[in-house]
Assembly symmetry: C2
Homo-oligomer: 90 residues x 2
């Protein structure tokens, strides 16, 4: 079967309780701009991987393996993977 | 009406065609780890904003305004906003 292209969108955020200075800086900047409704901001990474795989489950498994091996630090960060079909592999 | 807390998750990615050296570095690192199925990687920012608002539409409008004012550079970056209810504001 011809593999398909999938887009795996990986969201990496610091775990709750881990100090996030970048998030605090953004919170302060938003308050300075008058956005008083903002309570808290966390800033993380978004990694979009285009990958060829037999099916969406295989693409998800690959993406989760990449997170464990390289993309996330499991001590400090949580990650979440979302997979979407992106057409036929070329 | 008591405002509710919403979680606005903002995904910021470089526009197609804008050179992404961080994405290229991650692609090379994944290939070096044996992930040959990876075709392309783009690395962006994930911003999670906790905001109080009357309803989800208002929370989304606030988040989009924050993107235009501070969080994204419209020349180089695209953004996408997702809003989820997060409980009663305190």
């Amino acid at each position: 079967m011809k593999p398909k292209r999938y887009q795996a969108v990986i969201e990496v955020l610091l775990r709750p309780g881990v100090f996030d200075p970048q998030g605090q800086a953004v919170t302060a900047a938003l308050h300075a701009l008058g956005h008083d409704a903002v309570e808290d901001v966390r800033v993380g990474k978004l990694v979009r991987v285009m990958v060829s795989a037999e099916n969406a489950e295989a693409a998800r498994a690959l993406a989760e393996q990449m997170c464990r091996e390289l993309l996330a630090n499991p001590v400090l960060e949580n990650y979440q993977v979302r997979v979407e079909e992106a057409g036929v592999a070329h």
